[in-house]
Every structure is written in C-alpha cells, then in structure tokens.
Symmetry: none
Subunit: 520 residues, 2 copies
Amino acid sequence: MSSAVKIYDTTLRDGTQGEGISFSVTDKLLITEKLDQFGVDYIEGGFPGSNPRDITYFQEVRKLKLKHAKLAAFGSTRRAGIKASEDAQLKTLLDSDTPVVTIVGKTSTLHVTEILRTTLEENLAMIEDSVSYLVSQGREVIYDAEHFFDGYKLDPDYAFKTLAAVLRGGASNLTLCDTNGGTLVDDFKSIIARVVKEFGGDKVGVHCHNDSGLGVALTLAGIDAGAVLVQGTANGYGERTGNANLFTVLPSLFLKMNRTANCAKNLHELRELSLYFDELANLKPDTKAPYIGASAFAHKGGLHANAAQKVKSSYEHIDPSLVGNHTRVLVSDMAGRSSIAMKARELGFAIDEKDPAMKTLIDELKELEFRGYEFEAADASLKLLMSRALGQAKSFFEVEGYRVSVERRGSDTVSEATVKLKINGESLHTVAECTGPVGALDKALRLALENIYPQLKQLELRDYKVRILDSRAGANARTRVFIESGDGKDIWGTVGVSDNIIDASWEALTDAINYKLLQA
Amino acid sequence: MSSAVKIYDTTLRDGTQGEGISFSVTDKLLITEKLDQFGVDYIEGGFPGSNPRDITYFQEVRKLKLKHAKLAAFGSTRRAGIKASEDAQLKTLLDSDTPVVTIVGKTSTLHVTEILRTTLEENLAMIEDSVSYLVSQGREVIYDAEHFFDGYKLDPDYAFKTLAAVLRGGASNLTLCDTNGGTLVDDFKSIIARVVKEFGGDKVGVHCHNDSGLGVALTLAGIDAGAVLVQGTANGYGERTGNANLFTVLPSLFLKMNRTANCAKNLHELRELSLYFDELANLKPDTKAPYIGASAFAHKGGLHANAAQKVKSSYEHIDPSLVGNHTRVLVSDMAGRSSIAMKARELGFAIDEKDPAMKTLIDELKELEFRGYEFEAADASLKLLMSRALGQAKSFFEVEGYRVSVERRGSDTVSEATVKLKINGESLHTVAECTGPVGALDKALRLALENIYPQLKQLELRDYKVRILDSRAGANARTRVFIESGDGKDIWGTVGVSDNIIDASWEALTDAINYKLLQA
C-alpha cells in the first residue's frame, strides 16, 4: 500500500512572484479549473491583501464548481498590537470566502525583532490569535512557517514555540518553509524529523525553493522524513530561482517513492499540463525539464540510441508514457512514417503508410518543421498541407497580393489594408481600416470573400498568438503566428511562419479561411 | 581546514551530447583555455574514437599552455576477444596524447549480457586489461563505472568485482556514474558510502545526471559520503535533462559544505563564466539558474523587497557578490513605496520615499501596469518614465509621425517605413526598406538620427519579443513588445504596449534610442 500525501499548488500565489510571470484574472480562473481537473488537493489562489487583481479573482472563482480541490487564500498573521478581529488584512482573507486560509508567520527571532520590530512574545500571540480567529470563522487554516530552517538554527526552542502556538490556535497543518532556499538536504531532513517527532507526522508540510538547485531534493527529503503535504508550483515558477517544481516532484513520489495522492491517477497528463501552463504564462517550455521536457527521453549518442533499442530500459529511468512523454531518437528526429499515416487517417485521408505519396508528405513536413512550423496545435494547417501533398487540394481563391500600412500622425494610429484576390477569373480588390494591421487584413479579406462564400460570416477569430523563434536576430527574427478560429460549431488552429510578422499572420489567417471553406 | 576535492569538467564531451549543443574546434579550444584559467583540475576534451572533430581538437590543443588543468581523452574499454594493444579505439586515445585517459566500462550484468553480448568474466578482463595497458603507456587513468547504481542494485557483488578489476589495472580514480539519472538521494548516498568503505575514500568520484531533477543533490550527497572528485558540466549541459550543473555544485561545496578546490579562489568569476559558455553555445542564459542567474537575487514582492532592505541576509541565502552576481529589485504591482524608491535610487535618482514626487511616480506606474506594461525586464523604459515623472526628462527628438507598409506581390513581400521627426526645430523625413515592418522602422529612425547623434551607430537590437496580452480578443488584442538593446558595453531593456503591434514596437524602439542618448 502506498501512503497518501496532499498536493498543495501555489502557482497562482508564490508562482506569480517569479520574474516575468503575470496572470490575468481570466488566466487564473482557467488555471484553477485545470488544476482541479488534474486533481491537486489545494489550490492557493492569491494574496488578496496585497493586490486588487486577486480580490477580483476570489469574487469570480466562486462561480466555478470545483470537483475536488479546496481553494486557499493566502495572507499573514495579524499586525502587532491589535486584535485579530480588527485586522484589515485578515478581514480581506475572510472576505475571500475560501474554505481554506493559509497564513504565514515568523519563526526566526532575527526577523521578529529586526523586520517585524516587535517582541518575541507578541509574535507568538499574533500567530495563535490569527489562527484561532480564522478557525472560529469556520476556516481550515494552514500555517506557513517562514524561514523555518534558518530560524530553527538560530533558536530551536523559539522555533518550536511558534509551532506550538499554531497548534493551540487550531491549524490543520504546519508547513515548514525554506524561504531563502539555502538549506542543504541533510540539515533539512533532520530538522523535519525533529518536528515530526515533536508534533506528530500527520500535520507537517514542506515548502521549498530552488536557490541551491535543491528544490526537488529537499521536498522529497521532507516526505521521506515524514511530511504529508507538499507545496510547489507548476514548472517550478516562483521568485528568484523558483519554487520546488511540482511536475518533477510528483513522478518521483508516485513512481519511485511509493507515495500516492488524489492526482496520481492523472500522472499521464503531466506533460500536457506543463505545456498548458507555459502557454498561459507565455514561456518557452523548458526542453530539459525532468520527466516531461521534450528532451527528457531524447537520445543523441549513437551508442545510447542503439542500446536503448536493444534494452528499452537501458538508458531510460522510467517509461516515458507514464508522464505523457515519449522517446525520441534525434538522428531521425521526426515522427515515424506510421504515426504520420495515422494522423492523416485521423484527418480524413484514406492513405496507408506504404503509399508512395507518403514520402512527399514526410519530406514536406520535415522541411517545414525545420523552418519553425509546429503542427501540434494547428490541425487545420496540417490538413491543408496534407491535401496539397496528396494532390487533393481545392482552391477557393487566389491571392494576387496585399498591402497593409500603419500610420501615426501625432497620437493617432490607424491601420489600412488592401487585398487583391482572384476568384473564378474575376479580380476582387478591397480595402479596410482597423486598429491593428492584422485586424485590417482580416476585414479586407472578408469584404472580398463574404459575398461569394457567405458561410464565412460565421467565422470568428478566437485567439491570436505570436512567438519569436530566434529572438536574437532582432526585429527581423523568424516569427510563428498561431490563430484559433471557430464558427460556433467547431474550433480549429492554423499556423504561419515568416521573417515578417505580417506575412506569418497572413498565412495563418488565409489557412483559417481555407479550412472553413473546405469544411462547408 | 576545508578538505579538498577535484573538479572534473566534461562539458566538451558529455555536455555536447545535449540537444542543440554543438561546439566547433575553435569553440572547444577557447573553452579549454577558459576552464584552465578558472582553475578546474581536469578537462575532458572529447571522445576521439567517436568523431573526427575531436581528433582535430586533440591535435590542436597541444599548442595551448595550460596552467593547471590536466587534459583527458574519453573512450571505452577494449572490445571483447582482442588484446588491449590491438584495439583501434584505445589506440586513438593514446594518439590523443593527453596526460589523462578516462574510460567507461560496464557495471551492470544486464548490460554486459544484453548490450555488449559477452560474458561477465570477459567484461572484467576487458576492464583490467584496458586500464593496465593505458597505465603502462604512462597515462593517468580515470574509470567511469557506467550505470553503477542500477548495476549495484541488480548484483552488488559483480559491481564490486568490476571496481576491483579497475584498481588491479592501476587506475587513479573510480567514478561512479548514475547514467540514467534515475537514482534517488538516499540510495545514492548509501551505495557511495559502501564503495568508500570497501575501496578507500581517496579515489572515488561521482558523475550524475538530472533526469529526476536531482543532479546537484546527488553530487553533493556523493561528496558528503566521501567522494573526492566531481564530474559535471558548465550550466548543466548534457544529454536528455543534462548533467550535474557544476556552476550550482561549486558554490554549495565552497560556501556551504566546507570543501575547497583549486578553482575556489575564482568563485567570484562564476556568473561571467556561465554567460561565456551560453554565448559560445548560442543559448539564452537561464535567468532562474541557482546562484548565477539574473533572477537568482531578484526581489519582486513588496514584503520581501522591504525586508531585504532592513536585513540584507533576510531573503538571500548567500552574498551574491561571492559568485559575481548582485541583488535586483523588480518593480511590479505588488511593489510598495519603499521598493520603488529603492529602485529609483538604483537607477540614479536622488529621491527618498517621502518625496511628494513619489506619489506621481507610483500612480503612473500603477496605471501603466494596469494597461499591461511590465518593467521588470525593462529598466531603461522605467528610467525614462521616472525621469518624466520627476520632471527631469530630456527631449532628443520629437516624433511627428511614422508610416509603415507591408506589401506582397505574388510571393515577394517587402516592408517600407517612413519616419518624420523634428530636432531643434528642423524637420527630418526619412524612408527605409527591410524584411519586416519593425526592421524597416528601425532603419528609418537611424537614418534620421545617426548624423546628429553618431553614438547611435553603436546601438544594436539584441532581442525582440512579442506577447499578446489578451489573445482572446483576436487580431486586435493588446500587445506588449520587449526589446533588448546593447552598445557593446551595456545592455538594456525597453517595453511598449498597444492594441497595435507596430505602435507597441515603435514605443519600445524609441525608448531604446532615448535611453542610449540619455547615457551618452
């Protein structure tokens, strides 16, 4: 029997402390749903006392129906010298109306006297009062013991007194935080073991950072020493070098350490989950990420690749499919013939892998992927490409040219696009204005096409994303544009790549239209 | 007294197995010199048996005068069934003419029978023969025990027999390799301790990978258990998820574990060394890298930034200057008055937090951040904003307008920009062409300005990034553009936000120019 641990995700709070990480309220709601579907036990949604965006989030999140996860609002112990019930920040936490409230308090005597500038006694009272007040208001309280390890080294008796105050207040959990991320594994483990011995093993959690490159190692050591709750973030987002990366911790816990948790059954979704977060955070996925990175099971050396073929486990520490990943051999980098044939059939082409047209298709795919195209999220562009390679393409319109200009006079900017198309021998020349250049192109295209193809009136641009592929080439860098379109019934993705951002957008835009015309 | 360990760098061999890592012979020679200057003890230069580039490298590297490091050529034990002196691959190693030869051999009975397809006895003979032959030719031999931990778990007696064969052959060092990177810290440590007990503590090394996110933790655990040699790579380059990152291991060893090594005296060069490697490997530096990353000592939360001001050590696990890094304060909507005042002083403004101008500044910052600006990576835009808010702005040119057009005829696309500026009452109207619209604007701006401000000739666009802020608004979504610029001396970031991607780029571009003019 595996023993169970609780998974506490703090991506939406501590994760957003990371440099360059910023989620809108909509992003935060999407993430909350995604984490709940994956099955984490706690979702820390934000720090309502510190910023208005999080207050809005806690108002909106009530409308979601969570299946399993408990939502937590994060804050700190009451201010010195006042009653807990009079503390504005604690009130904000209660107003967030979450089943769980997590509060952080001081462990280190240095921090109490030098940073809070209060007495050691008052800090203990602040902890106990705050916890018991929140508990009296019907909340489950999780306590984050800030700087626990540094504080313990400075004054172990006082560190234990703070934890005793937390338990007197009625908190369900003591999470010990290595706030600076400076602790080494052995020290960490022996201190956790002492806390577990003193306060019992059913209520200790760990919260680690990666400042010494040990975020994951410390977390696993904590569990080994008896902790039962793990705090961490998606992809290790977080302040400075980041928090413990949950997506590295979970596979080790479930596959190597005989632990389980509610989300263990969904471990095979881990790679997809990781990519989802990077997409919302607009970060390039870390190809070297343990377990789930694109390179995690990629074999380059002929030696290893060859051996890996002989004994599958010989150079792979786990079966990659357990985390939704797969083996890649880098010499023949691309997907094999059989999986491309499978994909073609999925998209509605009657073809098997021995068909000679497969070679044209594979060659073209390789060439495009080399140039920066990615088709994983652009099935519509892939289908158009396949129909061309297999000689089944239909032409709905020919492009003779387009022109888009952006003009600023004083503080006003306007974009104008002209589009020249040919349909059944007839020339169409349209012009439209819009805020941005891509919007103007979209309008001019519709103006030309909607009379002939009225079904395009249902077409709607749902999502537009830009990724610079080689950002160091400066303003002329290769650019990939991804467009998601819909018509109220279906949703489809298209992709364009070019050294010119307008050209890349044009390609994704016309693919979206062609796909719609192909369906209708 | 700190006890000494040996640092063995395998960037040029195992590091180059990483996806996307490829060094020319010239790169490899530059790296060899750099590592020698830094003071590592061993430099593994390559695998001459596996690739002709490495044979050339070993010919060229003889011309370098190394101050301290010993050069090692890497290969494997002799083939089964022949004499070591007749093995072509061992001959290549001797021809490399290095003082040290490192050979890898099999530990795991599974690998001997299934992959080498020979007998357990013959494998022992291959190990002993190969080592003793190389020693007889005057080489120091380091032995890499492949899959040591997996092999030990399968058959500990046989694993120990392979090591005994190595020592009979006369090798100076037994390096135990966690080849698949799958071992957990406790297992690793207890196996190392058993090897140290059996074979003595003066000859054990460790070679770890990061497949479970534990590359650094395993390496430190090995040293704790008595190993005296560390193998690793610059920035953790290497196959799959990479090798143990030497640039994380070294500070922990020297600053936290009371170990020393020849290179310890140069630890303050670590950040620069890391950037040098990324530059040669053409990789974007990992801002989150422990100790040396740009974000490693960056404080975002108002709480932390405020505390960090009161007690410098309160949120920093080491003094960043020890590794050549420094503290940064990030301005975000979580930042309070004190961290903004601190940031202003860092950027050269004489202001304290009680100054009434602070209110204007904070209000403007909040407003801009609400509209989607982010200044964390855009210090230059922040400095320009502060100089405006504090009434210290200088105007180098006025913008009357610009116009950019992108035109496609057939399969050709060209971008043309015109720019209208006013400097000291004089109008300047320029036009330029380029692949993309932003490149064209950049060219037209320079054409107008470089005669009057020749220092702009040094200005170079280094990085260009686009983020769609609310991608669901379709092609007219709000867009944030980041530009990184440099002049060979400094590097600075600027930001622009608009519903029109061209306008956002224009703003970041003109900020970059204004910042350069302000400095010069």
